[in-house]
């Protein structure tokens, strides 16, 4: 019920918001605030409630695919915490936007709620198609809001954002559809199993198209073209949500979909690790030179997320809690910084850090918060950022000292650009004369203050995050395999090798991959021959599968081959 509420109710809320007045923001802001608080409370309940799942409801069937698409939500620690981020940041965004958009607040709230629903859906879907649906759906409200409420170059920013991210995930759509023609249904487990039956080159192609979608969304180094302009032109509350919650969808995709489904070769892992590190350094260097405050924050986010991705692909045992803490810490601190920057922009009327300055004496309370948030972003020990970055560094150290040294260099860079930023914005004397805009209200201040305090609390007691992580527990696997009609044993073994022990994943998967590849190499184009099938049968028997299972697997293989031939024929067209 909770899951349904979190995913569907935001859309209902968005529709209900239509009923309020567009001109007078009073009633709409109150309604929005009430909804926001409710969703935030629900997300806390979700985090506290542990793993849970809804009934899998058959949603629709894609022509050409074997199984149905389910409306099936599943909450594990990772998703629940990211939902917490999305609801929390949306609430603060609704609060701060109240003083920024006097007119049209209603439409902004509608956008925020639909975005929130889409994000929650992304983080809670257990079905790949559902996930992809929400993953794409996120872009639309965000782009509309950028176009409606953005800065000077809002149209360009909205277009860049929408086209870049949609095009980035287009290959994933094709790959997913292709995979679905092979798999029993669109749940994780059957996708993973189906993938094993494909030839290695196809597997790699599918992997690439999945990776691309997430690389663009995060964004990782060569695919970050949309990010700076989008975050800069979007209204600050929206930027906070984009960086704090939406960009996490990319990292979430790596953890929740790429790692369990795909057998990753060491080369891929290394490439991804270094892409993450290069992003981290690149973001830091760009932030050093940025003069647009929101671009600076955008690059800083990019740097942190690069580190997170590098952490994910360190594949160490400590990776999952480490990356989650880093994501939450970054989500809250970057969110807070964007909110504060929005208020600073409102007060000073500019985004250029060379035209700011002197806020410390002009508006001490604001500056205290601002400085505080910046310190949180610096990952000083005792803040959540430190726990995240230290543990991620620990995971990266597993991959060798050099990556860890590069990651350490990023921490130095982060100090350099963040302190420059703080100095330019709040210290010194004001660079020019200006009329003060609307100041920070008590509600804004206290809500951002709560975020900062949360960071401290997580910094001293991160175990409330790290202990809530059971990515896929037994019940969920059972449920999934029931839906897939697979044998339990096989399901559990496949899953545990893929999901639970990611460490094991790297090694065991390579061996699986090796054997699969040799098996698959011959059947790339032509269907499996009889003797090969017999051979497979004997290997399966040796592996301890009984009569019925073997028969079903072979049948499946045959079906797969047929499907594949079809698919290839279509693709060739």
């Amino acid at each position: 019920m909770l899951l349904h509420l979190l995913v569907l109710a935001p859309f209902v809320a968005a529709i209900l918001m239509v009923a309020t007045s567009k001109e007078d923001s009073k009633s709409s802001s109150r309604l929005a605030f009430l909804f926001g608080v409710t969703f935030f409370a629900l997300s806390i309940a979700l985090v506290a409630g542990g793993n849970q799942a809804t009934e899998a409801i058959e949603w629709f069937r894609i022509p050409g695919c074997k199984g149905p698409v389910f409306y099936y939500l599943y909450s594990h620690g990772l998703g629940a915490w990211l939902v917490f981020l999305s609801c929390g940041l949306s609430l603060v965004a609704l609060v701060t936007a109240r003083n920024t958009f006097h007119k049209n607040y209603r439409n902004f709230a509608i956008g925020i709620f639909s975005l929130m629903g889409a994000m929650n859906g992304t983080f809670l879907s257990a079905d790949a198609v559902l996930f992809f649906f929400f993953f794409e759906a996120m872009v639309i409200p965000a782009a509309v809001m950028i176009a409606g409420f953005g800065g000077k170059e809002k149209t360009k920013a909205a277009m860049t954002f929408a086209i870049y991210t949609l095009v980035g995930s287009a290959p994933m759509m094709v790959a997913l559809w292709y995979l679905l023609t092979v798999a029993d249904n669109s749940l994780l487990l059957s996708l993973a199993i189906a993938l094993q039956s494909l030839p290695a080159s196809t597997q790699f192609l599918i992997l690439l198209s999945f990776l691309l979608a997430f690389l663009v969304k995060t964004p990782i180094f060569p695919f970050h073209g949309w990010q700076a302009i989008t975050y800069a032109e979007a209204p600050a509350p929206l930027s906070a949500i984009l960086t704090g919650a939406m960009s996490k969808a990319g990292v979430f995709g790596f953890i929740a979909w790429i790692l369990p489904i795909f057998p990753l070769s060491m080369t891929t892992v290394n490439v991804m690790l270094w892409l993450g590190l290069v992003t981290a350094v690149y973001g830091g260097l760009m932030a050093l030179r940025a003069n647009d405050s929101k671009k600076l924050l955008a690059f800083s986010s990019m740097s942190h997320l690069g580190l997170a991705v590098a952490g994910v692909f360190s594949l160490s045992e400590a990776m999952l809690p480490a990356v989650l803490v880093l994501l939450i810490a970054h989500g809250i601190s970057a969110g807070a910084q964007f909110f504060l920057m929005g208020i600073a922009e409102r007060m000073t009327g500019t985004r250029d850090i060379n035209l700011m300055g002197g806020l410390a004496s002009r508006n001490p309370v604001f500056s205290t918060l601002f400085g505080f948030a910046a310190i949180m972003a610096l990952a000083i020990p005792g803040t959540a950022g430190f726990v995240g970055e230290f543990t991620v560094l620990l995971s990266i150290w597993d991959m060798g000292p050099l990556p860890a040294v590069v990651a350490g260099f990023c921490l130095i860079l982060s100090a350099a650009y963040m302190l420059r930023f703080v100095q330019k914005v709040i210290f010194g004397k004001a660079a020019r004369e200006y009329e003060d805009g609307t100041r920070m209200t008590a509600l804004e201040g206290s809500s951002i203050g709560v975020m900062v305090v949360l960071l401290l609390a997580f910094g001293f007691h991160p175990s409330c995050i790290t202990t809530s992580l059971h990515l896929f527990d037994e019940d969920a696997i059972e449920e999934m395999s029931k839906l897939s009609g697979h044998d339990m044993n096989e399901a559990v073994t496949a899953d545990s090798s893929n999901v639970e022990g990611i460490e094991a994943d790297a090694s065991s998967v390579e061996s699986t991959e090796g054997s699969e590849a040799s098996e698959n190499a011959s059947e790339e184009v032509r269907p499996m021959k009889e003797d090969e099938l017999r051979q497979l049968d004997s290997t399966l028997a040796a592996a301890g599968f009984d009569e019925k299972e073997r028969a079903s697997i072979i049948q499946q293989m045959n079906a797969t081959d047929a499907e594949q031939a079809n698919a290839e024929a279509t693709e060739n067209e």
Partner: protein
């Protein structure tokens, strides 16, 4: 009194921070600001209470210390850390002077910061600093020490940039933080290194010592030596950052931009000695690493000598003291480098008193002269501010190692240990002694320029010169007393070894493991040579600066010519090896790589647009063409369906 929990000590200044921070934020809107009396009372209360708590605990401490674990901190696969505290001989001494001197300097600050707009904010930072420093020395694991380590760095940043209206102060603060960050990354990587060798629990000091013991008894030293050496080197990089040693020392002179009590507390007495503390804390590990120890000695020696020379060239009274601090820290590192950890901590202890007294005295002089820091505009202050002058004089005798004063005992001990440290010992000793002479020269110069001769400032300013108020003088006098008598906790020649006895359970094993070869020399010879060095230095200072005409003060107080190139040698080194490469890299990213990516993006976009334009020409009202297209497409679709086997 044994049941006093250890976490109470850091908690007290933390409560102070929260209270004062709240007062500062709430009152920031009002015109008048909070009552200084109340804020001052709160500010001194918590450090003083912490001092009392430390005192009570120190009295009843068992020989192997008190341990207490508060709760779990990080708990993930591969890594666990607790909030645990360790109160033993080493942390006892550190805590006693950190909280004691901290409380005294806070009291002094009430007078110094009188009337400042950020009064409450200042004391909130000071309390936060004391909290971090206490955590640094009281933590029972490297990770908790690191919490304090970065925490004091943060407070140092906040306090250097305290007067943030002047951008130069902010820049000095940024520099301090960033340079320290470089060192901190060394510390961080060092921890990771250790985790690879010894697993998750090894960051705990007890576990680390047990691990060292284990590999010693098992004879596995050879196997882990490379990675332990790497870890040791990385930790030492951390120390060079925090304790301002070559090459990461450039931030400390700039840090003098902060209020003077801050310089006294953070940049002289406590924070900068954290590196020495860490070396002593990890003594058992470092004792195994001869290469690293040699590097430490060498760096300490070079730093001590270089900074002493730089101290000679400064005109700003606080800069002289800053370089002097660096130089003295060099002595401590030299001692640590020859495994004389107790001697290095002893010097930390005595140095805290006399350097704090010197800084507070300098602060009183600056206060009296309404902010003037250039020594060329001072002179003759002996008559105008006699108490300050006396305090400074006593501290001066202590720092140059005049017999009987605190510095005499500790510096003498360090030089003696240096001499005995092996084949290179005598060479180290000679440089150390030479540095002692230079120390006496530049300190003599400072005293002569400030307190003797006639006043060289303007006439109007002369009338306003006044002695500092009582709340500033009391801490100064107490510290001066410390500067005289602190050395008597360990006076070998008088047979007093209280200090080394209390440290022995912690560092004794490490020191015993390094056997010093070398002839036994009568300690009196060292004492005699040390005294001679001090006297010689004083004599030179008197000859050179006593009667000479002081050049007119023109422009800034920064040194000129070759003096500048000596002083700023490491600044330029940083510039050419650190800042410029990074800027160039950033420039390449921004101007080259990013533009190329944008160009690619634009090209793809343009091609799409062109294609779109091309396709749109079909969008015309030519029914036949449209129809033909439709038919063709339907045919293709049918073909596809048939070819794929008609599964649709």
């Amino acid at each position: 009194m044994m049941n006093l929990p250890l976490w109470l000590i850091p908690l007290l200044p933390l409560v102070g921070t929260i209270l004062l921070g709240a007062i500062a934020v709430i009152s920031s809107g009002s015109k008048k600001g909070p009552s200084e009396g109340m804020v001052g009372f709160l500010a001194v209360l918590f450090p003083a209470l912490a001092f009392v708590a430390v005192l009570l605990l120190a009295m009843g401490m068992p020989v192997d210390g008190i341990r207490g674990t508060l709760c779990n901190w990080i708990d993930i696969p591969l890594f666990k850390a607790d909030f645990g505290f360790l109160f033993d001989g080493l942390s006892r001494i550190m805590l006693l002077f950190v909280t004691g001197i901290g409380a005294l300097i806070t009291l002094y600050s009430i007078g110094y910061m009188h009337g400042d707009r950020g009064f409450a904010r200042f004391f909130a930072y000071i309390n936060l600093f004391l909290f971090s420093m206490i955590v640094l020395v009281l933590g029972d694991s490297l990770l908790l020490t690191f919490l304090g380590w970065e925490g004091v760095g943060l407070c140092s940043y906040l306090l250097i940039g305290f007067w943030n209206k002047d951008v130069n102060n902010c820049k000095a603060a940024n520099k301090a933080f960033i340079v320290n960050r470089v060192g901190d990354i060394g510390f961080l990587l060092g921890m990771l290194c250790l985790v690879t060798v010894g697993g998750a629990g090894i960051l705990n000091y007890d576990a680390l010592n047990a691990f060292i013991q284990m590999i010693l008894t098992g004879g596995h030293v050879e196997i882990v030596l490379p990675i332990l050496s790497l870890a040791g080197l990385l930790f030492f990089i951390g120390c060079t950052g925090k304790s301002a040693q070559i090459p990461l020392l450039t931030w400390l002179p700039d840090a003098m931009a902060g209020p003077t009590p801050v310089s006294a507390l953070i940049h002289a007495a406590t924070m900068v000695t954290a590196g020495v503390y860490l070396l002593a804390r990890l003594g058992n590990m470092f004792a195994l690493l001869p290469v690293v120890l040699f590097i430490i000695t060498l760096i300490g020696l070079l730093t001590a000598f270089w900074a002493a020379m730089a101290g000679l060239f400064q005109n700003d009274i606080k800069k002289v003291l800053a370089y002097s601090t660096i130089s003295q820290l060099g002595y401590m590192f030299m001692a640590a480098g020859v495994c004389a950890f107790d001697a290095s901590i002893f010097h930390v202890f005595t140095h805290a008193f006399f350097k704090a007294a010197l800084f507070l005295g300098a602060g009183a002089v600056i206060h009296a002269l309404a902010g003037e820091q250039d020594m060329r505009k001072m002179g003759g202050m002996l008559k105008k501010t006699p108490v300050t002058a006396c305090v400074m004089l006593f501290a001066f005798f202590a720092i140059i190692g005049f017999p009987g004063f605190a510095g005499f005992w500790s510096k003498d001990l360090i030089l003696e240990r240096l001499f005995m440290s092996g084949p290179l010992g005598p060479a180290f000793y000679v440089v150390g002694l030479l540095t002692a002479v230079i120390t006496a020269v530049y300190m003599g110069r400072l005293i002569i320029l400030t307190f003797f001769g006639s006043y060289r400032g303007s006439k109007e300013s002369e009338e306003h010169i006044h002695e500092a108020p009582a709340c500033m003088l009391i801490p100064m006098v107490i510290l001066a007393i410390g500067a005289i008598f602190a050395g008597y906790f360990w006076a070998d020649s008088l047979g007093i070894t209280v200090f080394s006895d209390s440290l022995a359970p912690v560092v004794g094993a490490a020191q015993a493991s390094v056997v010093h070869a070398g002839a036994h020399v009568n300690p009196l010879i060292f004492a005699g040579l040390g005294t001679l060095a001090a006297l010689l230095g004083m004599f030179i200072a008197l000859k050179v600066y006593g009667s000479a005409r002081i050049p007119e003060a023109k422009g800034s107080s920064a040194p000129q010519g070759f003096k500048a190139s000596w002083t700023f040698f490491f600044d330029s080194l940083h510039k050419y090896c650190g800042i410029i490469p990074v800027s160039v890299l950033a420039w390449i990213c921004d101007v080259v790589v990013d533009k190329i990516l944008q160009a690619i993006q634009w090209t793809v976009g343009a091609i799409a647009t062109i294609l779109g334009d091309g396709v749109s020409t079909f969008q015309v009202r030519k029914v036949r063409l449209q129809l033909a297209f439709s038919v063709a497409c339907v045919a293709i679709l049918v073909a596809v369906v048939l070819l794929t086997g008609g599964t649709f």
